[in-house]
């Protein structure tokens, strides 16, 4: 087995473009799923009663269906239904966001519910409004407690962007596939991709743990 890394150097621009798309897709879908997940969690916890079963069904359905299926369905089937065509990147962004927002919503819910109800009652007794309580009392403690879970969600988000390669988003996984096919050097190319993913993911998971250790005391009550 001979290993010739020159293929990586030769096609460095092609691969680094893929790394850029991976990071952009992870950042965009991470941010969008946080925002959507927060809204979904609020709807589940405080929304009108008729809305809650629908929200629970959405969350549990996303936990039941593979992200590959969500992505493929969004890219190939959704345009047939709506008549709108989307670029692979937009389809991946929508698919990943819809999938990951369900997980983010569960993290928000668990965090908010972890703050003892006595604190809410005490704040009500002090004359605060519901939104004031959420903003000033519950969320500051809950956000710190959610941090490790969001760290794993971020790592899952980055890993899931690789699945977007099946709908031809030109991120690192897809670029590696293309290069491996053209250069007939799959071992070098895939090993390089492994190295890059590890170098992105390992500091992310470790960094979140570090930050959490620093701020964990702020979440105690």
């Amino acid at each position: 087995m001979n290993f010739d890394p020159s293929v990586i150097i030769e096609h460095w621009r092609f691969l680094s473009y893929g790394i850029g798309v991976t990071i952009a897709l992870a950042a965009a879908s991470g941010a969008a799923s946080l925002a959507l997940g927060f809204v979904v969690a609020l709807a589940r916890l405080f929304g009108p009663r008729w809305l809650r079963p629908a929200v629970v069904l959405y969350i549990d359905s996303m936990r039941a269906v593979p992200v590959l299926v969500v992505l493929i369905w969004t890219f190939f089937a959704l345009p047939i239904l709506t008549g709108l065509t989307m670029s692979p990147f937009v389809a991946a962004l929508i698919g990943l966001t819809v999938h990951l927002a369900a997980y983010a919503a569960e993290i928000f819910r668990a965090g908010i519910e972890s703050v003892r109800p006595g604190q809410t009652r005490a704040s009500l007794a002090l004359g605060m409004s519901r939104s004031q309580i959420l903003r000033r009392i519950v969320l500051p403690q809950a956000l710190v407690r959610m941090l490790p879970a969001f760290g794993s969600l971020l790592s899952i988000t980055i890993k899931d962007t690789a699945i977007a390669s099946v709908i031809a988003v030109p991120e690192l996984m897809r670029q590696s596939e293309t290069l491996a096919g053209q250069s007939f050097q799959p071992i070098e190319v895939y090993s390089f991709a492994m190295l890059v993913y590890f170098l992105i993911l390992f500091p992310v998971t470790r960094g979140v743990d570090r930050i959490y250790q620093r701020v964990a005391h702020l979440g105690r009550s």
Binding site: M1, D60, S61, R63, A64, V65, P66, V67, L68, V69, V70, I72, W73, F76, A77, I80, L81, S155, I158, K159, D160, T161, A162, I163, S165, V166, M173, S176, E177, A180, P186, I187, Y190, S191, A193, M194, Y197, F198, L201, F202, T205
Partner: protein
């Protein structure tokens, strides 16, 4: 827009066989990954330092790689590295098992580590042997903590088996996409595929919730 859902019924035998393959992959991977996970966790906890470092490196590597990349890597590298012509099924199974073993090892390690050392010492002070103390005191508590995590790993694994479709293992996602390509009934086949995953995955997700409530540890 006209949809022809009869295409789903016409291919129900192929879909049923593919669903069976998905379930088989999940069961076979877990059957490999639980014992291997215990071994790796034991190596990380009790082995000679260099062996411990290797086990740690393995776990950290596979927990920080996208599974789809591991699948491709196994497909291209395993035949060259081992000299064996592996079937897509064996390759997919190997990739899934490598991945899930790393997660399980971490689950077992955390479960055993979560039982305070003082409990073992107290049990031994009461006259139990070390083996007795581990069997009667540590393991029953560790199992309560490990089981819910294993259950959610199971559901993740069930969903992740769809990723081996990229190396043409004839499980549900691959077969559904093949039929889609042959019949051009894109929306119908993809929706049917999603529906089958949903029908199988939804009860599992609910069961996991139940197990987590049932085994919730309050301290």
């Amino acid at each position: 827009m006209n949809f022809d859902w009869s295409v789903v019924g016409a291919h129900r035998d192929a879909l049923a066989a593919a669903t069976g393959m998905t379930v088989l992959l999940t069961v076979a991977t877990m059957a490999i990954a639980v014992p291997c996970g215990i071994v790796v966790a034991a190596l990380r906890l009790y082995a000679w330092t260099p062996v411990r470092a290797v086990a740690t490196a393995y776990v950290e590597l596979f927990r920080n790689l996208p599974l789809i990349l591991v699948v491709y890597w196994a497909f291209y590298v395993l035949p060259i590295a081992t000299g064996l012509g592996l079937s897509p099924f064996a390759t997919g199974l190997a990739a899934l098992a490598l991945n899930v073993t790393a997660y399980n090892a971490e689950t077992f390690r955390a479960g055993i580590g979560s039982i305070r050392r003082g409990q073992l010492e107290a049990a031994m002070a009461l006259g139990m042997s070390r083996a007795q103390a581990v069997r009667r005191i540590v393991l029953p508590q560790a199992v309560r903590r490990i089981l819910p995590v294993l259950a959610s790993t199971w559901v993740s694994l069930f969903k992740d088996t769809s990723l081996v479709s990229v190396i043409a293992v004839s499980e549900l996602a691959y077969v559904a996409m093949q039929i889609r390509a042959q019949t051009f009934r894109v929306l119908e086949m993809l929706t049917a595929m999603a529906a089958v995953y949903w029908l199988l995955g939804y009860p599992q997700a609910k069961l996991v919730d139940w197990i987590q409530r049932r085994y919730a540890v309050t301290e």
